[in-house]
Symmetry: C2
Subunit: 600 residues, 2 copies
């Protein structure tokens, strides 16, 4: 028993409480948010922020990793009466890479019988949306996205450039349904992952971020991966992809899914390749199909499917500086070349959709030919594949399957917008889900930053979810610290995008923090930040005493030079004298004055 | 003797040599660059990169901090025959904040008599440029900017969007002269700082970065600041601002300037305020003027002057969320309000120009009313000041003074371009020099990233120099690690901007690194990166053995999954079969094929 039950990080963030809003259409649903309390001197209500952290930050919740999270959506799925329990696929030795004995990660202790659609029905959120049904998932998402913005929206003028998105002032359940029905948003929600809290990915919703975790043949264990998942969601990951490639893939994934309150994505091809001993040319539709069912039964919420890599595109990559850098893309390219055949993923996409619709697994159509360097950005291979992804989107939609589209990669700033524009054009406004993009190749060790720049921009332009890049990109697997750095960097990018798009109420947190800064409420400044611990510890490096938490200065300028303190003096003068009288005085001030009215 | 001679970081970066190119017009000048050697298997010449590190990375150079750097430009200045040595101002007790005994930082051991213009002549690079003279500084800069691009330019197609900049294929000394004459670029080069290696700041040159250092009343010492300066330039800072605000300002600055191979900027107002005991209303033109001369004699290369903050603008800031956040701006606002008078900086700007032209101190016209929060971006106060900076630019140019314009601050992405457009419009294309901007307020502790996003974008749009922001922004003074993180982040932003603008040859380093990555030349990948130490150590965390430095995989995927390895197999197949025959085979491949020709 090498892998015992993992320990994960729990407990609330500073000054934060997990609170719940109730549904109206579905009064039994409880939608979580986080409220950050401010100091009493602020005279302001708590600031409500989106909360992806699940029960782990709730001190009332009982966390038992070996039992898994409460099955929140189980009743909702059952109530629809369109699914059935059935004799599931048996776990095979190859599912765990033939790991045995002490090398085998133990099975997850609780076994849940999987469900699937009864008959040939579609049990996807898209099918319900098209049928005019507002599911509890849709209402959950609507309330979650609003963050109580109704009360705030009146106060804050809309301001932004959304490049043709259609972001409403308030998200209603009907709006969610419409967006899902149109394919412009997805709710990744496998019926076999009822532990997850529903969330939406779409251009008219808050920009989301994904964190990749997963072991490899070279490193890391189940306990580490479970903790990385909890840790990533604590800091704001909206979904987590388990990209494990070593042994024990099946069992590790079970531990992750049963304990995850966010949707879990995978690249089933990775596990399929393990099953054929790592020899790409030995892959077959049968092995792949078996893997899809295995993972759908476990509850994977979205599958990356590299069905856009087609035989005729491969020569387009031969003169590239970095060839094919997507693992899935290169595996499929090798298979196609070896057999000199069209990709089995492309040829069987219809059947793949049939599996997805029976469990509501969403698609993340993989960009197997994404550029791996600045030199290869926006080339023929990349855009040829994107057009194919557009074709596949239509096939999936015809089967009521939910779809998002993966995007690059490495792209210099001046070529980023073309990616978004083309994706919108050829993929019918299906949500875009990009990796960065990295805006230069010259900073390994800092690719969270090279890519955070591109991510913020493409998020602004309309990308619905940003896949994080950690400092270890190109160098190694991220550890716990790297995961946090990646998540925080991408929360910055996503939030900067929300601000620039003009999401109603997105600026509330910025304004609250800025007021705290201006009023020297240091604790509030820390607590409102994306990473209170880091903000506080940096402040305390130079001014550690408690008295400095109320000091009207910091170590940057010291008390004499503090511009904010001087600004307060100015404001106090203005209040004492009356702003109007003060302005009068300025008007009298002489010939240098430009009348204020003329400038309004 | 608390402060002994500082120890600074010396020695070359990995696989790097400092090399020199000779001038043609001025054959005696030697222009430094850095060459990074690649592994012999690469079959590629060394990669030449811009080098701001000065003699410190040259193992041949003898470094003696207590004697200062060689006085590179002394002969050039003397040869012009338009300056004179004179009885300089004596150092006064208030110059060092009345520090005495053990608290007084020792004077720099070598005393150089300052020079100034003979008579009322202008000794600025702008004056020479307008007179049609190509100075050694201008030729130095031309060769430095080219980085041997002449040989490379033919190979690399120009690609980018420069928003109306006029970036030539090759920078000639005449082009530099023209840009300086037009005011579109500056070479900050005080005649009393002959140790500095000339560099240009302008929209048609490589984007530059500035690092702020400096002690405060609360923390840090002379030795630390000198090392921070050397350390910042080692990683790529093109200029350094000494923003010290505590005691010993004069003596610390002397140590910094005498050992700096990059231009040094200051905010003279900070020292002036110290001289009047920190009471803003006690400032006077006389104290300020005395400080300008003191600093000009020491060799400060550019002054931030907050002359754009005018009396009538102050009421515009009262309803802001964060008031006035520029220290200089708030000091001047307080002075103006207290005396109810127009700013003495504005009223005496003409005389300030007379001082600057006698030493060739460039101006960085300060944005005292820059926004300190997302809420305050692009408001009336900010743009009113910017218009005034445009006025002041004309006054300075009329006196042959070199000028750049400071910009924000905190700006959401959708409001960034308006800043650049307005600056170009109202400031006659004088170089823009921005602090970030930060694209959200919610991530203290990560403001190098929130601002790196904005910096990359505004650099692309045309900003000539980006002032770094470190992780400690808003929280404390940066230490050595923070300085490095800030510099690397801003090198990323500046380089991403160069790529997007389409600077000729900017992509050479990206391509070289990407080829190294694709060919598993791990050492080359580390050595070509902005921070080789960090890249290497991150790689070695999981694969420390020497054998892994040539491994055809890394810890991310392990050997079976490596997409690059598979790409190599594909390329090898293609080479074996002949690419044309392979493409033929694809064409025969059947009905799924879309002819390649149709897609060109």
């Amino acid at each position: 028993m090498k892998d015992l039950t993992p320990t994960v990080t729990t407990g609330p963030l500073p000054a934060s409480r997990r609170v719940w809003h109730a549904g109206k259409r579905h009064p039994d649903i409880r939608i979580p948010m986080r409220e950050i309390d401010l100091h009493s001197t602020a005279g302001e209500p708590p600031v409500t922020v989106y909360d992806s952290s699940g029960p782990y930050t709730d001190p009332e919740a009982e966390i038992a990793i070996d039992r898994g999270l409460p099955r929140l959506r189980e009743g909702w799925v059952a109530a629809r009466g369109d699914t059935e329990s059935y004799g599931a696929r048996h776990v095979k030795p190859e599912d765990n890479g033939f790991a045995e004995g002490a090398r085998l990660v133990p099975e997850f202790p609780v076994c849940h019988a999987p469900r699937r659609a009864a008959g040939r029905r579609a049990v996807t959120q898209m099918a319900y949306a098209r049928a005019g049904i507002v599911t509890p998932e849709m209402e959950f998402v609507a309330i979650r996205e609003n963050l109580g913005r109704k009360a705030q929206a009146a106060k804050q003028a809309r301001d932004g450039e959304s490049f043709g998105a259609a972001i409403p002032d308030v998200i209603t359940p009907e709006f969610v349904r419409d967006e899902i029905a149109l394919g412009r948003a997805i709710i990744p929600a496998n019926i076999n992952h009822p532990e997850a809290e529903p969330m939406a990915i779409g251009r008219n919703f808050l920009v989301k971020i994904n964190a990749n975790i997963g072991n490899s043949a070279v490193t890391s264990s189940m306990a580490e991966e479970v903790e990385k998942m909890v840790w990533a969601t604590r800091w704001g990951a909206d979904t987590v992809m388990d990209l494990s490639t070593g042994r024990n893939i099946h069992n590790i994934r079970d531990w992750i899914i049963r304990n995850s309150s966010v949707p879990i994505g995978t690249v089933p091809l990775y596990q399929a390749l393990e099953k054929v001993g790592g020899v790409a040319e030995d892959l077959s539709w049968e092995v792949f199909r078996d893997t899809l069912i295995e993972q759908a039964e476990q509850g994977v919420d979205y599958f990356t499917i590299h069905a856009g890599v087609r035989l005729h595109m491969i020569p387009m990559t031969v003169d590239r500086v970095t060839g094919i850098v997507s693992r899935g893309g290169s595996i499929m390219a090798k298979w196609c070349l070896h057999h000199h055949r069209e990709s089995f993923l492309y040829e069987h996409f219809d059947e793949i959709c049939d599996i997805a619709r029976a469990y509501d697994v969403s698609f993340s159509l993989g960009d197997g030919l994404r550029p791996g360097s600045i030199a290869d950005a926006n080339d023929e291979a990349q855009f040829a594949e994107l057009e194919t992804l557009g074709e596949l989107t239509q096939i999936a939609w015809a089967k009521d399957c939910q779809v998002m589209i993966e995007g690059p990669g490495h792209v210099p700033m001046h070529k980023i917008k073309a990616n978004m524009d083309k994706q919108l054009q050829v993929c019918g406004e299906a949500p875009f889900y990009t990796l960065g993009p990295l805006t230069t190749d010259i900073a390994p060790g800092y690719d969270h930053i090279t890519s955070g720049i591109g991510a913020a921009m493409i998020g602004w332009f309309g990308t619905a979810m940003l896949c994080y890049v950690t400092p270890k990109e190109h160098l190694g697997l991220p550890d716990r610290d790297d995961v946090k750095t990646g998540v925080i960097t991408y929360k910055i990018a996503a939030h900067a995008a929300d601000l620039a798009k003009g999401h109603p109420a997105a600026q509330i947190r910025d304004d609250a923090l800025s007021r705290a800064r201006f009023e020297f409420r240091w604790e509030d400044q820390f607590n409102l930040s994306l990473d209170p611990e880091t903000a506080r510890s940096m402040h305390d490096e130079t001014l550690p005493k408690e008295a400095h938490k109320v000091a009207h200065f910091c170590s940057m300028c010291g008390p004499k030079f503090c511009s904010m303190k001087i600004s307060h003096d100015i404001r106090a003068d203005a209040q004492r004298d009356g702003m109007e009288r003060m302005a009068e005085k300025f008007r009298e001030g002489g010939n240098l004055y430009i009348p204020l009215e003329d400038k309004a």
